[in-house]
Symmetry: C2
Subunit: 357 residues, 2 copies
Amino acid sequence: MDIQITKTTKPRLADFDFSDIPFGKHVSDHMLVAEYGNGKWMDWRIVPYQAFPMEPKCVTIQYAQCIFEGMKATMGKDQIPVLFRPELNIRRFNLSAERMCMPTVPEDLFMEALKAIVSFEKGWIPQGKGKSLYVRPTMYATGNDLGVKPSHSYRFVIFTLPTDVYYSQPVKLVTENTYIRAVPGGTGEAKTGGNYAASLLPAQRAKQQGYDQVIWLEAPDYKKIQEVGTMNLFFVIDDKVITPRLSGAILRGTTRLTLMELLKDKDIVVAERDITIDEVMEAHHQQKLQEAFGVGTAAVVSHISEITHKGKRIVLPPVAERTIAPMLYHEIEGLRSGEITDKKDWLVPVAQMEYEH
Amino acid sequence: MDIQITKTTKPRLADFDFSDIPFGKHVSDHMLVAEYGNGKWMDWRIVPYQAFPMEPKCVTIQYAQCIFEGMKATMGKDQIPVLFRPELNIRRFNLSAERMCMPTVPEDLFMEALKAIVSFEKGWIPQGKGKSLYVRPTMYATGNDLGVKPSHSYRFVIFTLPTDVYYSQPVKLVTENTYIRAVPGGTGEAKTGGNYAASLLPAQRAKQQGYDQVIWLEAPDYKKIQEVGTMNLFFVIDDKVITPRLSGAILRGTTRLTLMELLKDKDIVVAERDITIDEVMEAHHQQKLQEAFGVGTAAVVSHISEITHKGKRIVLPPVAERTIAPMLYHEIEGLRSGEITDKKDWLVPVAQMEYEH
C-alpha cells in the first residue's frame, strides 16, 4: 500500500501540554485518510488533521451512514508503540460496515493503515498510568444523492487523540425506563452514530439529576440490563461474575471479551446471561452485590458506586473492598505498559516506518 | 429577521432541464443557512448551495446528531408559490430537535426563512402534475468535541430541489422479519438520520429481490404493521379505511394526518388502530382487501400493487378498481395546484420578497 505523506506546516506537538488531555479534546497533528469509489479504496494518505467540505445533502448528514471504532495505542517496552488487540476492532468495524450497507476495509490494509498513523504520530502517545493515544477509525458516506439509499462513495479516516482516563471517579448510574438505546434487529451491535444520537437526551437528563450515565434496559418490559452506551456492564454477586449476554442489542465490546478471557485464565467463571435490574437490586438488599463495573476501550474498567432504579438508590461497597475490578484493571493496564508479560500476543507492536518524521 | 443575500455567480436556472428531475438529484441555485451558538440562532443568510468544511470528529459524523424535514412548494393560482401546511413540518422538526437534544428553531423565524428561500428560488418550482419544489430543512451538529454529549453548535439549512413524483408506478412491498426500524422509546418518531441508516440494509436486500421497499413490523413478534420508512400505510378492507395507530415508533406523517382529515370531511371513517400483517393477508384471501397505499410528502399517495410476507405473495386489485387512494391523490394535488378551493387555509402563500432576483 502506497501512503502519500503531507506533513503539517503548523506542528503543535513541541508545545503541547500533555497534562490537559481529557477524552476527545485534542487531536494529534496528522490523520490517515482513504477514499472509496467505483468499488475500491484508493488515495491512501497521511495529511494534517483537517476539515473536508461536506454538502448539506450529503448522505452522512441526511441519513447518518457513518461508523467508527475506538482503540488505544500505548508506549510499550523499549519505546515501541503497541496496539491492543486491534484485530478485534478491525473485525467489528467491518461488521458495523456490513450492517450499515457500507464497504468493508480489507483487514490487511486496515492494519497497515493503523500502524502507519500510530508510527507517524508516536510522539503524541502520552506517558503515565491510564493515559494513551486514543485511535479513532471512522468511515462516513461522502455521496450526495438525497434518495434513501446507500452512498456510492465513502471516506475512511483514522485520527488520534492523546487522552487521559475517561471516568476518573467511580460512576453513579440510573436506569432508563422510558427511552431505549437499541433492540435486537436494530443497530445496537454496530458502532454507528444513530445509536449514540438516540442516547443523548436520556444521558443529558441523567446528568441533570446528578448521574454520570444511564443503564439501558431492554424494551418492552424494561427489566433486562443491556449496557451503559459507553461501557458494557459486569456484576459480582455472591462471588459470581455476571455480564449480560449479547442479545443483538448490545455492543460486542472488545474490552468485555478481553476481561472475560482474563477471568477465565484465573479460573473465575463469568456467566453470560440475562440479568434483570430487579436481580441486582435484590442482591444488594441481601448484601450479596459485591461489585459492579463498566468496561470499554475509553472507560477501561470503571467502578460503579451507585445505582438508582425507579427512585430507589443503592450504594455499592467501597472500592477498597473490591477485588475483581481492580485486578482486571491492573492486568489490562499492566499488559499495555509492558509490566505484565503478554503471553497471548495481544499486543501488536508498531514498527518504525521509513517515512517517520 | 435580517437575511443577508449572496447570489450565485454561476446561475444554472436558465439552462436547467426540468424534464429530468428525479427525486433528490438536482438542488436549486441557493439555500438558506443559519448558525446556532451561545444559545441563539444567528447569521441568517441566503447563499449559493455549497459544501461547508466538516472535521472528521464532528458530532454529526461521529454521533449522527442531525434531523431533517421534507415539504413541498408548488405554484398556486396567479403564479404565487404556496407551501402546504408548513406549520405541521415546523412543529415536527422541533419535536425531532427535542428528541435529539438539539435546539429548536422558533416557529416564526422558521416560517419566515421558509418563505424567504421559496420566494428567492421560485423560478425553480416546476410546472406539471405531481411536480414540485421539494423543500428540505436540515439541522446538524457542527461541534467537534468527541465526548458522547450534545454539540454546542449547530447549522440550520433549507435547500430546495425541483422534483418529480417519488414513485411513478404502484409499488411492490415485502415485510421485513429480521431487522427493525424503530420501537417505542426509540427515535422512530423523529426524522433523524439514524432511523434511515438502520433501514438501508433491509431496503437494499428487498430491492435485490425485486421489491421497491419493505414493510416494517413491530418487534419482538413481527406482527403489527408500522410503516414503510418513506411512507405511512393505509389499507381499505371491507370498505373500511385503516391506518396503524401512532405507537411511538412510527413517524407522525403530515400527509397521513392531512388524508385522515380529508377522509373525515367526506364522512369516511379512518380506524387508527393496530393492524397485523396476518389480518391484511387474511383479508386478501377473503377478497376483502380492496386497496393498500403509502402516503408521504415525497410519495404523496402511492398505490401498493403487491405485498409479500414470508414467501407468500398477494396481488392487490388493479388500480382502476380503486376509489379511495385516487380520490385522495386528486384532492391533495388539486389543493396544491389551486384547482380545488382551499377551504381550510392549508395553503400558505409565499409573497414576493423585496430582495427577489
